[in-house]
């Protein structure tokens, strides 16, 4: 169990303690304030170099990581994989060695292979590696920002402070995750974060889109999606990942929408206060109806906005942090 991510890598949320997660959420709260200033920049990582390596396409994650690094005054090396030597057949190991030779402090990496970030952390043990999504495995900053968004919304409703609440608002919170669990690294990171923070998590998906080892996960598979909707305080939808061939796991997109899409009819079954989440990019009309995505209970844009403070917190703690005891 990792007790704090200070001075460490962030590869997965599976082995991160509740205290460590709360520390990231609390630190992110300070960065929310920085992002509201007219000058949205602090010198915490001045002179540090953060390399951003996206072997898989991404808009929001790459942009928010790079924005986060720049707001911390770090220099950002951004590798456009499509126009790099990777296309000439350079191995991952050689690509990393080349970038490392330029002198970097951290790598933010997305890769289509599960475990790629762990592998890179072994190639360059002196560099902080932050996983921005590896295959079907993990997407830790998404899990953190989803948890942060939930805490923020619940704290606001109660007129309380997120920092003072710690992980309290998660105790017994009922979270339903719907859709393509099998191919979703977001689901894996979300579940790890929510369960560690004390929430109850249920999942709803067609049998073909459940991972084969679901019985080992700390979640309950629901029999009836419609009943689970009435149960949930939070509904987290997932994107049907066409690029991973999800399409061949369901008879048709239309049938998926009929059975597991959050349609207007289904949304009516939700409790009035239920929070609707989606990590983006959305397939409007497939896993979520366009009108549902635009309801006030849908916090999808807020999830995107929270990406920057969460990633600032992760970069700040891993890169600026040392493993020693924190000073108060």
């Amino acid at each position: 169990m990792i007790q704090t991510i200070r001075g460490q890598n962030l590869l997965s949320l599976d082995n991160v303690s509740r205290e460590a997660i709360v520390e990231v959420l609390d630190t992110a709260e300070s960065f929310v304030e920085v992002n509201r200033r007219s000058i949205k920049k602090v010198p915490a990582l001045k002179g540090r170099v953060v390399a951003s390596l996206f072997f898989e396409e991404s808009t929001r994650t790459r942009l928010s990581f790079e924005t986060a690094a720049k707001r911390l005054s770090a220099d950002v090396l951004s590798l456009a994989v499509a126009s790099s030597s990777v296309k000439k057949g350079e191995s991952l190991r050689d690509t990393i060695a080349t970038i490392d030779a330029l002198g970097i402090d951290a790598v933010v990496m997305r890769h289509q292979s599960s475990g790629a970030a762990l592998q890179v952390s072994r190639y360059v043990p002196h560099v902080h590696v932050i996983n921005a999504g590896d295959g079907l495995h993990q997407h830790p900053t998404q899990g953190l920002l989803d948890a942060f968004t939930i805490r923020q919304v619940l704290a606001e409703r109660m007129g309380a402070s997120g920092v003072e609440s710690g992980s309290e608002l998660f105790h017994g919170l009922r979270i339903l995750i719907v859709g393509d669990i099998r191919h979703s690294r977001v689901a894996r990171s979300d579940i790890a974060a929510y369960v560690t923070l004390g929430a109850q998590v249920r999942v709803a998906a067609p049998g073909t889109l459940l991972p084969t080892d679901i019985e080992n996960w700390p979640v309950t598979v629901v029999d009836s999606f419609d009943e689970a909707l009435e149960w949930a305080d939070v509904v987290g939808l997932l994107r049907l990942q066409r690029e991973r061939g999800s399409g061949s796991f369901v008879p048709s997109l239309g049938e998926f929408t009929q059975t597991f899409g959050l349609t207007v009819e289904r949304a009516k079954k939700l409790r009035p206060s239920a929070i609707i989440m989606h990590p983006g990019p959305m397939n409007r009309g497939v896993e979520i109806d366009s009108r549902v995505a635009d309801l006030p209970e849908a916090v999808i844009e807020r999830q995107v906005a929270n990406g920057v403070p969460i990633r600032m917190a992760v970069l700040y703690l891993t890169v600026a942090g040392s493993k020693e005891e924190v000073v108060s």
Partner: protein, 189 residues
Amino acid sequence: MSSNDKPQTPRNDLAFSSKNQLLSHDDVARALKRMAHEIVERNHSAEKVSIIGLQTGGEPFATKLADILDEISGVKVPFGLLDVSFYRDDLSRNPVPRSAATTIDHDLTDRAVVLVDDVLFTGRTIRAALNALSDWGRPRSVQLAVMVDRGHRELPIRPDYVGKNLPTSLDEAITANLDGVWISKREPS
């Protein structure tokens, strides 16, 4: 934040003997009152003054100073809190400090900003605060008020308003809050 300014000694190695109280609650209250009058005197009024407390040690003193200023000047003095964690120059040497909220909701351009902290030690917190302040505008002047000046400056920084000058040795620690000021000695471990 005196604790952050401690030279590079791991915190858990410190064992302090019992504390000696140097200033009482009343002494602190009187000192704050005097400092408030000095602030008005120096700036000819409280009209342009902004009080900015440094997180977290400066907060109670800044709150109290702002209250006294409101009272004696009849002006509502703008008040804010500043966390300098992200501006420190010793992040690579010291563990990451736990950050606290910054709440400055007004433009500091042309204000006489009075920074308020509990203990002035190496001056590195104040350096970080001066850097941070420039993100909120260009103050007409920046002044420094501290409850205790314990010496051992590592930078050319001096306070404008001091509650109490306390020459200390490096193996001593100072605790200051509205209830009083204490000194304790580090025991050889």
